[in-house]
Amino acid sequence: MGQHQDVYFVPSKSQWPIVAAVVLFLTVFGAGHWLNAEPGESGFGKTFLLIGFVGVLAMFFGWFRAVIRESLAGRYNAQVDRSFRMGMMWFIFSEVMFFGAFFGALFYARLYAVPWLGGEGHGVLTHQFLWNDYAAAWGANGGNGPARIGGSFETVPPWGMPLLNTLILLTSSVTVTIAHHAIKDGHRGRVLLFLGLTVLLGASFLYFQANEYMEAYRELNLTLKSGVYGSTFFMLTGFHGMHVTLGTIMLAVMWLRELKGHFTRDHHFAFEAVAWYWHFVDVVWLGLFIFVYIL
């Protein structure tokens, strides 16, 4: 079908979708078993989870390899390119909404749940009869709720590592943009340099983030179990960190593809998609920096 122009492109049959469905099923089935296993009981959950996870990686590798081959063979016309663009845009929109759920939980806990437990508004009776010694506050002095779940803890000061990480991500957004312009100008060396820098910046963000987590667990006693403060803190920054990890891997793949000469001045959508994703991850971080760390 793809041989004549002006004709729609419909891709050929593929085994990758069913492979994807099977490995995703194995992953979640294994995860379900593993979560329900009694302490000390090994079960087959972990094995399934591992097989599924490796399968997911292999599936992505195989599926993208097939797509890259078709793309290099010149089978994708401008219309297919537009479909890919729309696909990526709407995927990022869905990610925004996913983070929206967790930001929503954060705002609700801070603005309503915790103050109500402390007796504000219609929480008067809850406070008086259930937890009359609880002075509602966010952060270290009450962010883990009236039962002080997880014990007393300290929060991560925003002006240390979080600030550094903010600067790192902002810089990486600049470097990835420079790399994009370099692709458009056909400067291969500059692309490799600035894209490589972006990957390094992403990796150093993750390094600092991991350090921050270790410090939180070891020295501040701030854990996932530190009441709703710890829950929102780790779920938000954790999901963000997972996205940075994914973004860094994708950027590294783009670096390799540039090295292999896959991208031309006007045909480099894969790079652009990853760059969009990277900017999205950057914007989410700014939200985290303001609402989780500073305020």
């Binding site: 379900g32 537009r82 729309m86 995927f91 939980a105 749940a113 009236p146 179990k225």
Partner: protein
């Protein structure tokens, strides 16, 4: 028209359906085959979910516990809803969209055909995961389909239910992205946005809703998962969280979700009524804008599901008025359907019967919805059978009636053969009578104070429950006629369908042969305005 059709016929021998079963159905990139898969899955889920409903109605036939234990009863109510919503109604619309959207806008296929295949194949796995929980020690989810904590956090099944919802969510999001990309990017030249069939418009808006809210549901159930297994406190007041927070996040998804299940139904009805009234739809643009405004409003009404949890008064009042506002665009739609029929030369083939029943019965569901929107009244109706009656009027006589109407409408196009009009009508009249016997008495039960989700009840409610159960059994049995009609049409019918199956039908899908060849519109068709349902009806 002739162009596209002849091109396909002479191309068919080297572009026909693949021979092997696995290659054709499992590795497919063909929108028609994937659409068929979705519709078959939906039909299977319809009967599985329906059998759960039969268990519920059998237990409620008489007061007292006869057949099942309360826990199993609760599993049935929970899984009935999950299977019907995520397995029957949503996949049916995706299947209809897959089959018809490319045909209606002159596209060769969906924009991202391999992702389309994955969207489908995730679903059988998700349902195996969900239904397998019935056999777990401790049983399946039994806290209601909304999975409210803390109740839903009991038992082992939560992890599997949550993961099943994740898979369904991924499937829905990918399916929705595909539909948006198809509609925005693959329309044939001349198919302007405001010439698109209303069904395509409603799906475009529905797809937007899906992408906006399925991730929010994923977030909500992920918090349930971490609350149960990883010690977080999102919904635990002792840790500073709030179970009501779950309800907010869930219904931020949940209310748009009910529109996800009704907007494509509006689209189907807006295709069928003009065909059998032999008149263009009345107020095409108003129909499109009404759907868009309903979609917008769906984001700011979610707390009407939570009036009884003790929200601040200001919130109650805001959500009450916002909810009542929805009646305006919905009223526009009902008015326009009636106006389309007004003065038309009507005939009542099976799809039209279902469509007319939809307009009447869905409106009843809309009115009971308005009653529920009133905060002081809702305090009385909340969690009663009145609510059950309300949402079954909008979901069964609304969404499912529209789906059945759509299936009868397009089945000849898919198979190339006519279904049995006689048995289609038998199916219709049985369904429309028994569905009212089934659900109408539930209004009275609710007003009299019978709570929902209970296996046993006060003897005062016995008579209406028996009537409702009899209606339920017969409505369920009537659906076997539907199965028979479909099987007969697909495998045994000898009556050839015309390309333009219905004399009054307009739109590109009627310009291709019946059955629609494996590949259509590989070259963009030339669009003549008289082929279009709305082209010359706008301005």
């Amino acid at each position: 028209m002739a162009h596209a059709a002849t091109h396909d016929q002479h191309d068919d021998h080297h572009h026909g359906a693949p021979k092997g079963f696995f290659a054709r159905w499992v590795m497919s990139t063909n929108h028609k085959d994937i659409g068929t898969l979705y519709l078959v899955l939906s039909l299977i889920a319809f009967f599985i979910g329906g059998s759960f409903a039969m268990v519920i109605r059998a237990e409620l036939f008489k007061p007292g516990l006869q057949l099942v234990q309360p826990y199993f009863f609760n599993e049935m109510t929970t899984l009935h809803a999950l299977v019907m919503i995520f397995g029957a109604v949503m996949p049916a619309f995706v299947g209809l969209g897959n089959w018809m959207i490319p045909l209606m806008i002159g596209a060769p296929d969906m924009a991202l055909p391999r992702m389309n295949n994955l969207s489908f194949w995730l679903l059988p796995f998700a349902f195996v995961l969900l239904l397998s929980t019935l056999f777990l020690p401790g049983g399946g989810p039994a806290g209601g389909w909304t999975l409210y904590p803390p109740l839903s956090l009991q038992g082992q099944s939560l992890a599997y239910s949550v993961f099943a919802i994740h898979l369904m969510g991924i499937s829905s999001i990918m399916g929705a992205i595909n539909i948006i990309a198809t509609i925005l990017n693959l329309r044939a030249p001349g198919m302007d946005l405001l010439k698109m069939p209303v069904f395509v418009w409603t799906w475009l808006i529905t797809a937007f809703l899906l992408i906006a809210v399925m991730p929010v549901l994923a977030g909500a159930v992920t918090m349930l998962l971490t609350d149960k297994y990883f010690g977080t406190s999102f919904f635990n007041a002792a840790g500073g969280g709030d179970p009501v927070l779950y309800q907010h996040i869930f219904w931020f998804f949940g209310h748009p979700e009910v529109y996800i299940m009704i907007l494509p139904a509006f689209g189907l009805i807006s295709e069928i009524i003009p065909t059998f009234a032999r008149k263009p739809i009345f107020g095409y643009k108003a129909m499109v804008f009404a759907v868009a405004s309903i979609a917008f409003l769906s984001f700011i009404v979610w707390a009407h599901h939570m009036f009884a949890v003790g929200l601040p008064l200001g919130a109650d009042i805001f959500f009450m008025y916002a909810t009542m506002l929805i009646a305006v665009p919905t009223g526009v739609k009902v008015f326009n359907w009636v106006s389309t029929m007004w003065g038309g030369s009507m005939s009542f083939e099976t799809p039209m019967l279902w469509a007319v029943a939809f307009v009447i019965l869905f409106t009843i569901g809309g009115f009971s919805g308005l009653m529920l929107a009133l905060v002081p009244a809702d305090f009385q109706y909340h969690d009663s059978y009145f609510v059950v009656a309300h949402f079954h009027y909008v979901l069964v006589t609304g969404a499912i009636f529209a789906i059945i109407a759509g299936v009868y409408y397009w089945l000849p196009k898919w198979t190339g053969r006519m279904y049995s009009e006689f048995w289609g009508k038998v199916h219709f009249w049985n369904s429309v009578v028994w569905v009212n016997v089934l659900f109408f008495p539930q209004h009275f039960l609710g007003l009299a104070g019978m709570p929902r989700r209970i296996p046993d009840y006060n003897v005062a409610f016995a008579n209406f429950n028996m009537v409702s159960s009899i209606g339920g059994f017969l409505f369920g049995a009537s659906q076997l006629i539907f199965l028979g009609v479909i099987v007969h049409c697909v495998f045994f019918s000898r009556k050839q369908a015309l390309d333009r199956v219905w004399e009054g039908a307009r739109g590109l899908e009627w310009t291709v042969p019946s059955p629609a060849p494996h590949h259509t519109f590989e070259v963009p068709p030339l669009i003549h305005d008289e082929d279009l349902a709305h082209g010359h009806a706008v301005d």
